[in-house]
């Protein structure tokens, strides 16, 4: 570890009350500055520097998929093969690159130039197939584009990568400014009336801001749909401890790629939302926990935070008041479970992202055992609108129990995959139409990210189904994060089910038995079925496991795979039965 890296790590530790918090950041810095992987000596150095037991450094290091413990080539090509990517042809792309480089996934070319890996969902579901190369994404890849990329890398040149975005819908609040030139800069944000809501909020009493958010009916946009104002209300009064606000930007649920559009194209909207929310809940410190793969977006956020600080919108005495609030951007290192709020908190503390037992809930004891509120990017980005225009204006959008606008990420077999902003309760058919309509014959959709139950074309009918927090549960599924995955009749549902459980088995944190062993057993049995070697008993075992696992795990991950797998088998039973070996 050279002096510079050491100094950088020490600087990172100063942001936190405990140096241990910087374990992941330190490992990432060492990996980046060195040979692209972490040797045992590196871990030992980090352990000494941060005064953490070596075993805990290793425990954390081996938990996260972005931290390499084996040598990698000069260029590490990582291909997302999750379901949206699979529907967009990632399998062909992978096969092409394997042939082209003469290596299999997981291997490195003899000249040490390329390592090829497959990775789980990269949050680029609308622009798949996608290749991650270091801290960049190359989206909408084709075999031809991949050839060009490889050629360029062989010449030692990393081509420019411009991330793609397709947005649509009525774009009234969240995506209003996406696509405008310089939309990420504070000057542009201010010109469009930005930070006025913050000014207004600072003229109100904090409890009135909370009351406004509460009466707006704003429900958490991360997936659970829990009312944000009610969550804030769980904070203990005068605990004597600092209160923390965490923005959950660990967007990783397959089918979900909405939050990145806000952060990448309108970061100040999020920062303003956080400052107002921080004021309302009495926090002086905020964190944006962003998935590590979104490295360039984290850079954008860091720059925006710097801008906001130097123009008095963050930091001490914001807008001349006595309110102090600052934000740190904290990068994850590759783990789906860190999207669960207590797993996120553990990870932010530098540990494995294992979800915690509840109670206590984070509002009572969260980050560093202090009262903590964790809200999703989209949720926090809606707060400025509520404060500026008033809760009544917000409730005019959407339905009574599902108020406000919502981002819907549409991926899979549609003409224009992208992120669409519509009021909650907008019929599915309108969203699909905005996305250019279904490519081919509709077979099924997954309405709210991979963990929601699949709906068949028969159930969907003419797709005149309101997309909100009440109507979907009435139909046995849920809105989740609003990630709509569309599948046409070229898709085999058992193959989708297998890919789904492969994802969850890969991402299970492993601490509780039903999730760790259950996902692994279901994966083994479905893999056997898809290979044509399954039996009727195997299928029954899977169904009995999915039925029993629901509700028995520490965090919602057990349910996140039991529900969709069970729905796929029950609704497409014939396809599974057809794979069963006849005696």
């Amino acid at each position: 570890m050279d002096k510079q890296v050491r100094e950088k790590i020490v600087a990172i530790t100063e942001q936190y009350s405990s140096p241990k918090t910087a374990v992941l950041s330190a490992l990432q810095e060492v990996q980046k500055s060195g040979s692209g992987y972490l040797k045992q000596e590196d871990m030992a150095e980090v352990a000494t520097l941060l005064d953490v037991p070596l075993a805990s450094v290793y425990s954390s290091c081996s938990y996260y998929s972005m931290l390499n413990r084996k040598p990698v080539g000069k260029y590490h090509i990582e291909i997302d093969t999750n379901i949206p990517a699979m529907l967009a042809g990632a399998g062909d792309l992978l096969a092409h690159i394997e042939k082209r480089l003469g290596i299999r996934s997981g291997e490195t070319t003899k000249d040490g130039l390329f390592t090829l890996s497959t990775v789980e969902d990269l949050g680029a579901c609308g622009t798949c197939p996608v290749i991650q190369l270091g801290d960049r994404y190359f989206e909408e890849m084709t075999p031809e584009k991949a050839d060009k990329l490889i050629e360029s890398l062989k010449r030692g040149q990393i081509p420019e990568s411009k991330s793609k975005v397709v947005v649509g819908g009525d774009r009234k609040v969240l995506l209003r400014r996406v696509g405008q030139p310089n939309s990420t800069f504070i000057s542009s944000y201010l010109k469009d009336g930005g930070y006025k809501a913050l000014e207004k909020a600072l003229g109100m009493k904090p409890e009135d801001v909370t009351a406004e958010v509460k009466s707006s009916g704003l429900r958490g946009r991360g997936g659970a749909g829990f009312p944000a104002g009610v969550k804030w209300g769980f904070l203990p009064k005068d605990s004597g401890k600092p209160v923390y606000l965490i923005c959950n930007a660990d967007e990783g649920e397959p089918g979900t790629f909405k939050d990145r559009q806000i952060m990448e194209y309108d970061p100040h909207l999020l920062l303003e939302g956080m400052a107002i929310s921080g004021y309302a809940i009495g926090a002086k410190r905020g964190f944006i926990y962003i998935r590590g793969e979104f490295a360039w977006i984290a850079d954008i956020l860091e720059r925006a935070v710097e801008e906001a600080r130097s123009s008095g919108k963050l930091g001490r005495n914001i807008l001349g008041t006595s309110f102090d609030f600052d934000i740190s951007v904290h990068r994850g290192a590759g783990a789906y479970v860190c999207g669960e709020e207590t797993g996120l908190i553990e990870s932010l503390e530098g540990k494995r992202g294992n979800p915690r037992k509840r109670p206590p809930f984070p509002a009572v004891s969260g980050l560093f055992d202090c009262p903590t509120i964790v809200n999703n990017v989209e949720t926090l980005s809606l707060v400025p609108f509520i404060v500026e225009k008033g809760e009544a204006e917000f409730r005019k959008i959407g339905l009574p129990n599902s108020s406000g606008p919502k981002l819907f990420g549409v991926s899979g077999h549609v003409q224009r995959p992208g992120v669409y902003e519509f009021p909650l309760g907008t019929p599915l058919c309108d969203i699909l139409e905005a996305a250019g309509g279904v490519k081919g014959n509709l077979k099924a959709i997954i309405p709210g990210g991979l963990s929601t139950a699949i709906m068949t074309a028969e159930e969907l009918g003419d797709c005149n189904i309101p997309m909100d927090y009440d109507n979907l549960p009435k139909r046995g599924t849920s809105l989740g994060s609003g990630g709509i995955m569309v599948m046409n009749d070229t898709v085999s549902i058992p193959a989708i089910a297998l890919r789904a459980i492969e994802f969850y088995a890969h991402e299970s944190c492993g601490q509780c038995i039903p999730c760790r062993e259950g996902a692994s057993v279901i994966k083994a049995l479905l893999s056997k079925m898809v290979a044509g070697k399954g039996t009727k008993e195997d299928l029954e075992t899977v169904l009995s496991l999915t039925a029993t696992i629901k509700g028995t795990t520490i965090c919602p991950t057990g349910e996140a795979f039991s529900v969709p797998i069970e729905a796929m088998i029950k609704k497409f039973r014939r396809e599974f039965d057809a794979l069963i070996q006849q005696p």
Partner: protein, 350 residues
Amino acid sequence: MSVTIDGKLFDFKPGATVLEVAREHGVKIPSLCYHPKIGPAGRCRICVVEVEGQKGLETACTLAARDGMVVSTDTPKVLEVRRMVVNLLLSNGEHNCLSCEQNGQCELQDAAYQLGIEAPAFVVDGPPAEVDKSSEMIVIDRRKCIMCGRCIDACNKVVVNEVLGMGERGHESRVVCDTDRPMADSTCVQCGECSQLCPVGAIIDKKAIGKGRVSNLTKVNTTCPYCGVGCQLTLHVDKDANRIVKVTGREVLPNNGMLCVKGRYGYEFPSSPKRLTQPMIMKNGKHEPVSWDEALDYTAGRIKEIVAKNGSDVFSAFGSGRITNENNYAIAKFTRAVIKNNNVDHCART
């Protein structure tokens, strides 16, 4: 305050968990990750119970008892989850009770027995897990590990040696030493607390392997003779062979189950052929066994003789860390009151 468990009313002290109340009153709820010394873990999910008026199941080890709470530990739903947990563990590991050291003292075996599971409900082939036999005293048999995390808590929270950790994640998770080193090459000091708390046969004492089954061993409680702390031990003795097979720490004061490497693993000396079992006096250049009376008379005579000839100051007494406080007191008293000097010292003083 009282709680109803399976129809019976039990009083409890505030702060107690349902599992603690149940255990105190003999209601059997299996637990694989919970251990009283480590506290609520909530990971294995086998201790689930049903609470009246509550949707879903709760883990008894993390559930605080509330006044008036009505708990059931054996409803069909509870048993179904328990069966699933045991079946998942049995199907994924290599749990061969026939030759397992822990046969008869295994919490997974007990749970399977309680639930009437004779064989795993399904079998899944996985990659073979390895056995780490590298260290002197402890074997980590990962084929039998259920990743309950007790050993890790034991190492980090109880003895605070901070050697064991959980590596990887999901089904690949494995208990590792430091940076996944073989135990012998790690910073492990072989205190064996991990072995003591392992609920199954995954972490076992190497020297005891093949030396006797749990059911054939007699437990003898005693005090560790190595130093003055007075750690409480249980010797597991094969009476037929007159041999100590293994040693565990008793979960009582002063050591609360913890032992050092000597106390836990240095137990061969009582059966050593070189051990002195009777007094001897050098006669004609050879040590000859004598009676206690003869030995004591001889010693007393010589002390008297020497002191009378050279004055009391030539005498000094050395106590030992390996004898009791009372013995050491007697030595000091004897030296001061009988010999009349203060030349008393102790092997553990320097």
